[in-house]
């Protein structure tokens, strides 16, 4: 039994150590796996803000993941083909700069989250789950039926986008970049959780009536959390698209939403580094079980079922002695 802070350092240390060892052993594929874990962890941390801290069970976070991915795909594909995105009323050109792409991804996914959140948060409980799932599916069908950006086939980007001072095509440098983004996101989310905003959000999760009674506007509080959560997941989507140099409607599918949720439950709901541990374990399982059997999802399902039924708290919860601050 360890204090949670130690576990967090352990998780992040492991995630950092694996690609460094892989670099020494000249195993670029393992570095890519670690990068994937770091990027998916960002998405999980984003969802965990809404789901763990706010108790908002969103089954539609693939929407923001996909919007972030397509922000990258659209900007980079226009830069790649030297065609402007629009000329009237003013000229907007594509870009290969990650910083610009991230900004666009964050803003675009925040806007979508604002729209979806404003409608979905009018409901609660099981309605909220179904409504967020449905809106996610709406964007999925839109991405499939909109032919301008590849439709069902998706978009390929030939060269990874650039970051000042880095060669992003070098696996270890790109890992470093994604890991740094993960650390910044964790830092920001940790600050948020401890701020009056985070405490109020958590309070409204535990007892909505009481939060309302002390004068908190619960709807606006949750909407803010939902938008920040969507924006972080959107950033992760842009990184994920850059990792694969490919975007497709799959990023929008309900399955992606489910996977992001699985990271959280495997790692531990409402734990700061829970999604990081969960994403890393997921990638490990995918790699190990996927090598054993083509049908590895059966085992994944069985493990997930076990964790939900018998091992609440996930990996971080199992290792940590301190109870999480609230019961679900």
């Amino acid at each position: 039994m360890l204090p949670e802070r130690m576990i967090n350092l352990l998780i992040l240390g492991l995630l950092l150590a694996v690609p460094l060892v892989a670099l020494a052993m000249d195993e670029p594929f393992i570095i890519t796996l670690a990068t994937k874990a770091a990027v998916l962890a960002v998405a999980g941390v984003g969802l965990n803000l809404a789901l763990g801290q706010g108790g908002l069970v969103s089954f539609g976070h693939a929407a923001y993941f996909g919007v972030g991915g397509y922000a990258m795909g659209i900007l980079a594909s226009h830069a790649q083909s030297y065609t402007p995105i629009m000329e009237v009323p003013f000229l907007i050109e594509g870009t290969k700069s990650m910083l610009v792409i991230w900004l666009v991804a964050i803003v675009a996914s925040a806007l979508v989250a604002l729209l979806v959140g404003a409608l979905s948060l009018r409901t609660s409980g099981v309605y909220f789950i179904m409504v967020t799932l449905a809106f996610g599916q709406m964007l999925y069908y839109f991405a499939i039926s909109w032919p301008a950006y590849g439709g069902e086939d998706g978009l390929s980007i030939y060269v990874r986008n650039g970051f000042p001072g880095l060669n992003t095509l070098d696996p270890i440098q790109f890992f470093g970049l994604c890991f740094a983004v993960l650390l910044i996101v964790l830092f920001v989310v940790n600050l948020l959780n401890k701020s009056p905003f985070g405490l109020a959000l958590n309070g409204a999760h535990q007892n909505e009536e009481r939060a309302r009674t002390v004068g908190i506007n619960v709807y606006r509080l949750r909407l803010t959390a939902f938008v920040i959560s969507g924006a972080i997941t959107g950033l992760a989507g842009a990184l994920f698209a850059d990792l694969n140099r490919f975007v497709s409607p799959t990023m929008f599918s309900w399955h992606t939403s489910g996977e992001i949720m699985v990271f959280i439950i495997l790692g531990g709901v409402a734990r700061l580094c829970g999604p990081v541990a969960g994403a890393a374990v997921y990638i490990l399982l995918e790699h190990v079980l996927g090598g054993l059997s083509e049908y590895w999802h059966i085992y994944l399902g069985a493990i997930l079922l076990f964790v939900v039924l018998f091992a609440k708290g996930g990996l971080v919860g199992g290792l940590s002695r301190r109870e999480v601050r609230h019961a679900g």
Binding site: L51, V57, F59, L119, S120, R122, T123, G125, V126, Y127, I129, M130, V131, L133, A134, F135, Q137, M138, Y141, F142, I144, S145, W146, P147, A148, W254, H255, G258, M261, V262, I265, V269, Y295, W296, H297, I298, L300, G301, A302, L304, L305, V308, L309, K312, G328
Partner: protein, 305 residues
């Protein structure tokens, strides 16, 4: 657009709506009585379709395939209720979502393992193939008409079951106060298993009937599941009447939107752009409908707060 084509599309929309009703009725019943959100309902739909295809292929009889579908779906439904689902009634919705998501993964991969990745095909039976002439000289597929009639018959049967029979009385009592009917001596866990198996059988029937129109493949259940969620959100959760109204509304909106929107846009846009904008918008139409319902009546058309 000719009036005959329009009527045909309305009938197609009805047929689609009736299919959605079979799914949504089970979901809403299970939620109403047990308070459970079941994502694996789509898997039961898939199991129904596969059982029908395998049963019909083995026996050569569509009706026997249909019976196989009902039995397989009800059986698997009862099985997962006894092993997994009943542990979830007291849990929060997050646990229910994740556990039933795990069940989807298991069922989908197991089906792929048993039947392979290639879709199966289920032929419409001879006595329902071909077309029938409706009043006004409209030719319509006999099979699709049969689906509409079966769906409406199930709706009536379900309504009678719930409002007139002893089991239905217990189901309604379970929705109102599950502790009280337990205290009055009703074996509540048997009731729960029965309700779950009934919902599963409806999903299986729906999958089997659709299986003869579309291909039977792994992953066919989830898009329908999500549409059924839209139906429930529009109709109001826990209400069979709401499920029927929502399903017909969604079925008609989706089918008519896909036909009419491209035509509508073509009246003021160039044809290729009209087709792409129209079809993209049509694919989003029912979600926009749902958003509209949420704006004005967040608990759904027939829901209570």
């Amino acid at each position: 657009m000719s009036i005959i084509l329009l009527i045909e599309q309305i009938l197609n929309g009805l047929q689609f709506g009736v299919m959605l009703f079979l799914m949504a009725a089970g979901l809403t019943l299970i939620f109403g009585v047990m308070g459970l959100i079941n994502l694996a309902h789509g898997s039961l739909y898939m199991i129904g379709a596969f059982a029908a295809a395998a049963g019909a292929a083995a026996t050569g009889s569509f009706v026997l395939g249909l019976i196989a579908a009902l039995m397989a779906a009800a059986l698997f439904g009862a099985l997962i209720e006894l092993t997994v689902i009943r542990r979830l009634y007291a849990r929060d919705h997050l646990d229910q979502v994740l556990a039933t998501f795990a069940l989807i993964l298991i069922f989908s991969e197991a089906t792929r393992w048993v039947f392979g990745s290639f879709p199966l095909f289920l032929d419409t039976p001879d006595f329902l193939s071909g077309t029938v002439t409706l009043p006004g000289g409209i030719l319509y597929s006999k099979y699709r008409l049969a689906i509409i009639l079966i769906g409406l018959a199930v709706a009536v049967g379900l309504f009678l079951l719930i409002s007139k029979t002893r089991v239905g009385m217990r189901i309604r009592a379970g929705e109102n106060d599950r502790e009280m009917i337990g205290a009055l001596g009703v074996d509540i866990s048997v009731l729960y298993t029965m309700v779950f198996a009934l919902g599963a059988a409806l999903a299986g029937l729906s999958g089997a009937l659709v299986g003869a129109i579309q291909s039977v493949e792994v992953g066919m259940g989830e898009p329908v599941l999500i549409l059924a969620f839209v139906v429930i959100v529009i109709g109001g959760i826990g209400s069979i009447k709401g499920a029927l109204a929502g399903a017909i509304l969604v079925g008609l909106t989706d089918t008519l939107g896909r036909t009419l929107l491209p035509v509508l846009f073509a009246s003021f846009m160039e044809p290729s752009a009209a087709t792409s904008v129209g079809s993209a918008l049509a694919s989003m139409l029912i979600y926009i409908l749902m958003a509209g319902v949420l704006l004005f009546k967040p608990t759904g058309l027939f829901g209570s707060a």
